[in-house]
């Protein structure tokens, strides 16, 4: 794209769609242990929301709002949460990545037939959130960085 921003119509519609897509992404991540989907899929949806904003508003505007270093830090935070939960399974229970929260009152409800509560699944929701953070931060950082660099290459 030679011109950086798109028209006002596209910008308005993108701004309206962005929170809805982000909410759907959070829904897919948080319900990963109940419905189809999970951390990777929801994270890809959230990163596509950021890509929509980059296409509509231009990469320079988005970079002023959120720097890609911060997105990278967010991604690393998700990875740290994943590894910490895995090592907690090693310490509190039998093995690395063992589900130590099953049977506990907070997350460990074992559901019956049919609908099941949100606080079931042991540490699966926590790992889903961690992987969702990783994918949202990582893919957004990649898309933002490539958009910035391709714009600079066009300018030279």
């Amino acid at each position: 794209m030679s011109d950086e921003k798109m028209s006002v119509i596209v910008q308005t519609i993108a701004g309206l769609l962005f929170p809805m897509v982000l909410i759907f992404s959070f829904y897919v991540i948080l319900h990963g242990h109940l419905t189809p989907g999970g951390g990777f899929q929801g994270g890809a949806i959230g990163a596509s929301a950021v890509a929509l904003l980059i296409v509509a508003y231009g990469s320079k505007t988005i970079e002023k709002k959120v720097a890609e270093e911060n997105l990278s830090i967010f991604e690393s935070l998700g990875g740290i949460v994943f590894v910490v939960v895995a090592i907690a399974g090693f310490i509190l229970a039998s093995a690395f990545l063992s589900n130590f929260l099953v049977g506990e009152p907070l997350f460990g409800q074992i559901p019956g037939w049919g609908e099941s509560p949100l606080n079931s699944g042991g540490f699966l929701p926590i790992l889903n959130i961690a992987v969702g953070m990783k994918v949202i931060g990582g893919l957004s950082a990649i898309v933002l960085m490539l958009a910035l660099v391709s714009r600079e290459v066009k300018e030279q």
Binding site: G32, H33, L34, T35, P36, G38, F40, E68, S72, E75, S76, G78, G79, F82, V83, A86, F96, L97, N99, V102, G103, F107, G108, Q109, I110, P111, G112, W113, S116, S120, G121, G122, F123, L124, L127, N128, V131, K134, V135, G138, A141, I142, M145, L146, L148, V149, E152
Partner: protein, 103 residues
């Protein structure tokens, strides 16, 4: 060259037809219907009198979604490796283009 493309397309269509025919039991089952005996070994057996799962994935992980319990619990190392692959890709992009932005 065009002939090879046509032959490949026909073979692919035959493969799709065979796969749909062979996996027909997946289509025949109603949405939300109780699992067949094959899935019974994976998901577990539900005892309706006590209201509990006797064995299988739902009893062991507490998650309703057996796919998530496989991806994050039984094959957690695989997911950790996938996360590492993603991290490596981001590190590569940052290394390649991170210095260029400020020129």
């Amino acid at each position: 060259m065009k002939k090879f493309t046509l032959i490949g397309f026909v073979v692919f269509c035959l493969f799709l037809f065979y796969a749909a025919y062979d996996l027909g039991y997946v289509v025949k089952r109603d949405f939300g219907a109780p699992p067949s005996s094959m899935d019974d070994r994976i998901i577990g057996s539900y005892n309706s009198t006590t209201g509990e799962w006797e064995y299988g994935a739902v009893n062991e992980t507490g998650a309703n979604n057996a796919v998530t319990s496989v991806v994050f619990d039984y094959r957690g190392y695989d997911t950790l490796g996938e996360a590492t692959v993603l991290f490596t890709a981001i590190a590569g992009v940052m290394l390649l283009f991170g210095g260029r932005k400020h020129e």
